[in-house]
């Protein structure tokens, strides 16, 4: 029995069409061949492009928010229990509307049903939390029950609609629970890490070799999220950065040095082990997302290494890390390119599948922000004002009073 609204073959057909589109974009197949593939893989579902999906999502959120707001305003409730009941009822109504639209009009990742189901989840959890507080439950209990409820409803949405971000919401909500038991910070981290490990093991067990391609792809994404969550749990120095930024070094979670030494050094070892294991596993099983997550985690480990060891940080540290990244990337490229047919063990540095053109890329946006960053990094004029007076300089050459 499957809870999912869409059949595995429908989702597999969508996956096949996506692959075929990427092959066409990269010139590996012709337009006629794309049509032939599409003809064999008709999902019989209504889809839309990313931008329309965003618009549908945003305006459905706006509309549903206004409906709830109007209703609450018109009835002018004073009784909080009644408001809670109304929120739960609205949640149920929106959920049913999403389910109906997806089932009747065959909407798939269309934005409308996604927004309805997300609003339903939020309203349901908000209503339940108000009801719980009305029924004299302690704040601690509410703080445990509400994230648990959110995790369960998000998990249900993932199982029913297949929305990956619902699975991510579920994991994040679950991650809040260990912090509500008044345990020691170390015990909280251990508990959270254990919970994430258990989910990770379940996701490994669910991933069987005979699964459909779309399901393998989906599980890889979930596993990558879980690995990232596990890494964020064990790396005590990441929150230390925010502690430094907020100048708050008294909260244990914001100051890694306050953890017991055994936990501190175990976490240090794990910050190396998790990325290394991810990269190794990703390369072995050729799972792109796992490799990418592993590489990003490895970079974060290098960035937090000095903090762990208590070494002095210097202004040029980012540049050293940057040089390591550039050097490694160039070395790997050279090594791959020097293999037979520019390949080694199946890995190649050549671009085979072209990415989708989206107008402007994040790389372009980062480049556009560079002059601003350079401007903010300019030192003040020499203290002795030995040349001329005042002024500041910036982006792409200069700055000043406009």
């Amino acid at each position: 029995m499957t809870l999912n609204l869409y059949s595995p073959q429908q989702e597999e057909n969508i996956y096949i069409r996506k692959r075929a589109k990427a092959w066409r974009r990269s010139g590996l197949i012709t337009e006629e061949q794309l049509s032939a593939i599409n003809g064999h893989a008709d999902p019989q579902l209504r889809q839309t492009n990313l931008f329309f999906r965003i618009l549908f999502f945003v305006f459905t959120l706006l509309g549903t928010g206004a409906v709830v707001g109007l209703f609450v305003w018109l009835l002018d409730f004073k009784d909080t229990s009644f408001i809670a009941a109304m929120l739960i009822l609205f949640g149920a109504a929106f959920y049913m509307a999403a389910d109906y639209l997806a089932g009747k009009y065959l909407l798939y990742r269309h934005g409308v049903e996604e927004a309805l189901v997300i609003v339903a989840m939020v309203l349901f959890c908000a209503g339940c939390s108000i009801l719980l507080s009305e029924n004299h439950l302690t704040l601690t209990h509410i703080r445990i029950v509400v994230p648990a409820l959110l995790a369960i409803t998000a998990c249900w949405i993932y199982l029913r609609f297949g929305l990956l971000y619902a699975a991510a919401i579920s994991i994040v909500a679950l991650s809040f629970i260990p912090f509500q038991f008044n345990l020691s910070p170390a015990a909280e981290r251990i508990m959270l890490f254990s919970v994430l490990c258990v989910i990770f093991v379940f996701s490994l067990l669910a991933d069987k070799p005979d699964l459909e391609d779309f399901r393998k792809n989906r599980y890889a994404k979930i596993k990558a999220c879980l690995l990232a969550a596990m890494y964020l749990t064990v790396n005590l120095e990441i929150l230390g950065f925010s502690g430094l930024l907020m100048r708050d070094t008294h909260v244990v979670h914001l100051n890694a040095q306050l953890f017991p030494p055994s936990i501190y050094w175990s976490s240090y070892v794990l910050t190396f082990l998790i990325p290394a294991a991810s990269i190794y596993w990703g390369i072995k099983s050729r799972k792109r997302l796992i490799i990418n997550v592993g590489l990003v985690m490895a970079c974060v480990t290098l960035a937090t290494n000095k903090s762990y060891l208590g070494w002095t940080r210097y202004a040029w540290d980012p540049a050293i890390l940057g040089m390591i990244l550039v050097g490694l990337s160039l070395l790997i490229t050279r090594w791959l390119n020097s293999g037979a047919d520019q390949r080694r063990f199946g890995f190649t540095a050549r671009e085979i599948l072209k990415p989708e053109e989206g107008g402007i890329t994040p790389a372009d946006m980062a480049a556009a922000l560079t002059p601003g960053v350079i401007e903010t990094q300019q030192p003040p004029a020499h203290p002795e004002e030995k040349y001329f007076g005042g002024g500041a300089s910036g982006g792409g050459g200069a700055e000043g009073k406009y």
Partner: protein, 314 residues
């Protein structure tokens, strides 16, 4: 049926060639695994970190290092990068030119960033141009435009356009975010200049693939400036019809070229502008306010639904 089975079926039906199917199966079953995007990503992040690290070092240690050391080091870095690009770069062509190697684009970007840092440092410390300091920016803009077109580099074009924006007065410093009237007019002027440049170069068939970058810069600057004008003057100004016109043009262009990112911009900016005016008209009437948002969101959903059916985008 999965991808592999379908490919084999199409080979059997002679709709796909044998070698083609072999390649696609190799890709699908990951016997060939391209790490091109990952390598590019880490190269870019690495270059950005080098730029950040160099900037922080100059900011923190400029007294200890001394002007001569800083200026000569920065000059050496950008000169080396530019020389490398001119030696290794492919000849100029009006059409898109592929980079000679994976690092080429980033080396040019690195050179441009270090050039900016160098010039900014010299100006901060020596104030050579005094009140005419902005002219440095124009020189930088000209240089970046030249390099972007010479070496077909999107990153450097983005750098050029944002440096041009800095010349118009838009920088990341906090006090620059105030949208006073004259800034609004500068933003509109900037957007129109960028738009005209982009269209002219596109029409001249010079690096036609750069048009999207121009359009993105122009669309955001223009629409933000017009929305801010509508927020200040509501319906009683030219900003409102100008915003409607700009959004209509964006929507029309989006449908014409089937790039729906511009439809997203048109709908979002247009809706914000119209909502500001309508909400102002129905001030303090809560019922009308909620009704407005319910009705208009349904209208927009209906409109986009019609559009999406028209183009059957998947």
């Amino acid at each position: 049926m999965n991808v592999a089975k379908l490919l084999r079926k199409l080979r059997y039906e002679k709709k796909l060639g044998s070698s083609q199917v072999e390649l696609l199966l190799d890709l699908q079953e990951r016997r060939i695994f391209s790490v091109h995007r990952e390598l590019r990503f880490f190269l870019y992040i690495g270059i950005l970190m080098i730029i950040t690290g160099a900037g922080l070092t100059v900011k923190k240690y400029f007294i200890n290092l001394g002007d001569a050391a800083i200026i000569s080091a920065l000059t050496l870095c950008f000169a080396a990068a530019f020389i490398y690009c001119f030696v290794q770069g492919r000849p100029y062509e009006k059409a898109e030119v592929a980079s000679p190697n994976i690092a080429f684009d980033y080396i040019l970007f690195f050179g441009c960033a270090f050039y900016s840092m160098d010039v900014a440092y010299i100006e901060t410390q020596y104030h050579l141009l005094g009140d005419l300091w902005e002219n440095y920016l124009l020189v930088s803009v000209a240089l970046f435009f030249f390099l972007a077109y010479r070496f077909d580099n999107r990153l450097v074009l983005s750098l050029a356009l944002s440096t041009l924006a800095a010349w118009f007065g838009f920088t990341l410093s906090a006090h620059r975010f105030y949208f006073e009237n004259y800034y609004r007019l500068y933003a509109i002027a900037y957007a129109l200049i960028v738009l005209c440049c982009g269209i002219l170069l596109y029409r001249s068939a010079v690096k036609k693939h750069f048009l999207d970058i121009y359009l993105n810069f122009a669309a955001h600057f223009l629409c933000i400036a017009l929305v801010s004008g509508v927020a200040e003057y509501k319906i009683l100004s030219l900003y409102f019809p100008a915003l409607l016109l700009a959004c209509a043009a964006l929507a029309f262009y989006s449908v014409k070229v089937r790039k729906f990112l511009y439809m997203l911009y048109a709908v979002i900016y247009g809706y914000i502008g119209i909502s500001i005016v309508i909400v102002d008209q129905i001030h303090r009437q809560t019922f009308l306010l909620f009704t407005y948002f319910i009705v208009t969101s349904m209208l927009v959903i209906g409109l986009i639904f019609k559009l999406s059916r028209m183009f059957k985008e998947d």
